[in-house]
Symmetry: C2
Subunit: 489 residues, 2 copies
């Protein structure tokens, strides 16, 4: 077997870098075309755009030389599949990313339209520029560079690019379970996380779980005149406020009985280590563009956003939404409420505690309904896995700096899905910066992060390909579990 | 002076009734055309429709024989003016109505589109059918019937049809003050109130005042990812809930210090009389299509909605409003809050109490902003005024039943405006039914109320014209105040 791919990436003038450098302008143009497609998975009116984006990405993968490219349907948005399996004896890397994006509203707060990407200074602005199109595209461009400059990859690769990540991947697990054999791999890699700060790469090794719910209260059958009836009926908007106001106590703790029962306590030593490696309160407030800290007493902001759970009202709606006033008592009120969970909280158990709590606290004047949108377990990744080592080497080559290990407050449900269904760990090797405004107006991606990210992805594949400790049982061996590295939170 | 107009309305086969009966179908077609124009004054996108509606109404008034017809501009929506002044020595009646309508949302709850009026059974469905186009139009058709069948009106008439009633009449008072001489009259009549029940007409003699505000809370500069920052920042949606939840105490009373201080107490006797004449709790719940009563302890629902003030959240908005979820901490949250006030509460004083209360209760993590949309004083009309007697006679002729005297929970700011600027009382002679769903989806107007309302309007003008107690000083005497009947709450 010729080992073309694993060689020739050490020297700065190796053909692969000549290729990436000389094609940088085109890579940017392609990324702009990718971001321009409004693939908002949550909004039904964008379903056609999500599909268009999948087709665009599939065609792109075909053009760079990937094989078996397919747009696989699911009950909602398709999965883009691609593979390259010409490195027998080498490990298989599953590259995961998502081509769907968050809704763009509030639109009025964007300096330029979210789906008309523009470069200002060193940044590309647009919805999805950072989350996750730009980061996903760094992997695609690394594959292209290998396939064009070296004519081969240093490992076997399976690409799985999802169109439902921002709505909680409702169809991913069943799709993977049905098509397990196509996704047999030794390790998954995913770039959808952040640096600690500009110039300081970070490998995320712990994620909070998530439980997203919708609570609706209904009062009288329909909106009625607030002049005629104001004072005689309980108002669902007011009743919802009364319930939401009681979800936290005065110490910033979540006031749902039993909510904290299963949380593993960290030792003083673990907490001290966290504090020394993580961002300061000041840094977190700066990243959030906020002036005031808030939350559970007795913890730093880094702890509050990583090792402690949270309850957030993501949206609330009731009654008249237009300009001026409207004299009504609304008939209903809705709050979108999401939890972030930590080991060993179980989303389904927390949902039950919430349901019980709401049932107990809903006044007799109201009917309450609860819908669940998303349930994802918290995850912790073993930092001693050799693929994590490969990522640290790759970051050093791409950015010239050793990566730190970070906990993230966010949730990436796919990490659990890969562990549970494919039996493999996931390396979270992100390129976003803390001020990239993921999920917010004026989202951007720092272009040097994109270009250095491509180099990092090149090195990651190289390191996995040459690290003998990473098993290569993929060709024919279905017992993925045998290469599992246990989580050791 | 020939007295044609004051004669010939006593017999069922008088020409005026032959005219109204034989033109009923056309009257309905015209009302449908009127309701079809989406004259939503609160929504800027309908500004053109509001103007179109004013022009339609003005042309209609010209066609039926009214004089001096004009569409008078104001800073926002125009006023439609018309007059007929050929009854020297007779009193002048100011007919007021409003051709603007409430916003139609939530659209999904309409059985048929709000601006495609349809007749189902004996009802005309459409936004504004009852409030106030149908009721206003009963007066217009009464004028038409006199002018066509009798060739004259029994009184002098000035019509003032407003396009800003549903946004609090922001330009009416200054317009009237500037054009006082055109509106000199002895009494105003307005049909924008309800029967007690089908078959039971009611003259509204007391109205609550209104104060509509918008409270906005702002936290961090913009929406941020709730995974990254959930637990570390105070959420404006949650902070708003915390503030709104504390606006009432557990006895259903408004918890703003000083709020109740100026309220006049009614005697036990007055309250007993109210209870005997007003609707029962059961009736009010049925009208609201509600199952549960709520509110200030110690008062009936009729009292809670008429002689006691109320605070209603008309709308609340924060964060993500679309389908599914969105993982953000919103940057801001807004509540539209309105008060209903009773004598002697002053809207501007209550606004100041609210501002002080919010300033004291806003946590240091938030900035609060308050905007006022509308301030209207409570009003009480002297039921011994002879024009009120004219209305009772008119109702008996139109509906065959004696009218009751009712308090209303709503606000009609123009009643105070007419008293203060023109020095005249207003007769609230409404034709709506309690289940007409004013301000709500599927608003309707009961067509027999329309037709019998026309007869009632005919008789009202006749009675005012023949009651010698109603002064007729309009022609040349500017001292309106001399005919003032004091409010005697």
């Amino acid at each position: 077997m010729p080992d073309i791919a694993a060689t020739g990436i050490g020297a700065p003038d190796a053909p692969i870098y000549v290729y990436t450098r000389s094609n940088q302008a085109r890579f940017l143009r392609e990324l702009i075309a990718f971001v321009r497609i409004p693939s908002v998975s949550a909004q039904p009116q964008h379903a056609g755009d999500v599909r268009k984006c999948a087709v665009w990405l599939a065609e792109h993968l075909r053009r760079i030389g990937m094989q078996g490219v397919a747009v696989e349907p699911t009950p909602r948005h398709p999965i883009v599949y691609a593979e390259w399996r010409r490195a027998p004896g080498r490990p298989t890397v599953l590259i995961y990313g998502h081509y769907d994006v968050q809704p763009a509203d509030p639109l009025a707060e964007w300096r330029t339209p979210p789906f008309e990407p523009v470069v200002r200074g060193e940044n590309l602005y647009g919805r999805g520029a950072s989350d996750d199109k730009g980061q996903l595209f760094a992997h695609v461009k690394a594959l292209e560079a290998y396939l064009h400059a070296n004519r081969a990859l240093p490992v076997n690769v399976v690409c799985l690019f999802e169109g439902e990540e921002e709505i909680g991947s409702p169809n991913l697990a069943s799709f993977l379970a049905r098509n397990r054999r196509f996704f047999a791999a030794d390790v998954a890699v995913l770039s959808d996380t952040r640096f600690l700060a500009p110039g300081q790469p970070a490998i995320t090794y712990a994620l909070r779980g998530s439980l997203a719910l919708e609570l609706e209260l209904r009062g009288q059958r329909q909106d009625v005149h607030s002049g005629s009836f104001g004072g005689a009926l309980h108002n669902p908007a007011q009743a919802l406020c009364e319930i939401v106001a009681q979800l936290h106590d005065t110490n910033g703790r979540i006031a749902i009985p039993g909510f904290y029962d299963r949380i593993r306590r960290l030792s003083m030593e673990e907490r001290a280590s966290l504090t020394s490696s993580g961002p300061s309160d000041k840094q977190i407030l700066r990243d959030a563009q906020a002036e005031h800290r808030w939350g559970e007493h007795g913890y730093t902001l880094y702890e509050r956003t990583t090792i402690r759970p949270a309850l957030t009202v993501n949206g609330i709606t009731s009654g008249y939404q237009g300009p001026g006033g409207k004299a009504i008592i609304p008939a209903r009120a809705t709050a979108k409420i999401s939890f972030r969970l930590v080991p060993d909280q179980e989303p389904s158990e927390i949902e039950q505690l919430f349901r019980t709590h709401i049932a107990r606290n809903t006044p007799p004047t109201m009917r309450a309904m609860i819908r669940a949108h998303l349930r994802a377990k918290p995850a912790v990744i073993n930092v001693r896995h050799p693929a994590i080592h490969a990522a640290t080497v790759a970051y050093r080559q791409g950015f010239g700096v050793a990566a730190l290990f970070l906990r993230s407050g966010g949730s990436i449900p796919v990490v659990n899905t890969f562990q549970e269904i494919l039996g493999i760990p996931t390396v979270l090797m992100g390129f976003a910066l803390p001020d990239d405004r993921m999920h917010a107006p004026n989202e951007k991606f720092h272009l040097p992060q994109f270009y250095q990210g491509i180099t990092t992805c090149i090195w990651f594949l190289h390191e996995v390909g040459t690290d003998g400790r990473i098993s290569a049982k993929r060709n024919g061996d279905a017992s993925c579990r045998s290469v599992r590295y246990a989580d050791d939170y």
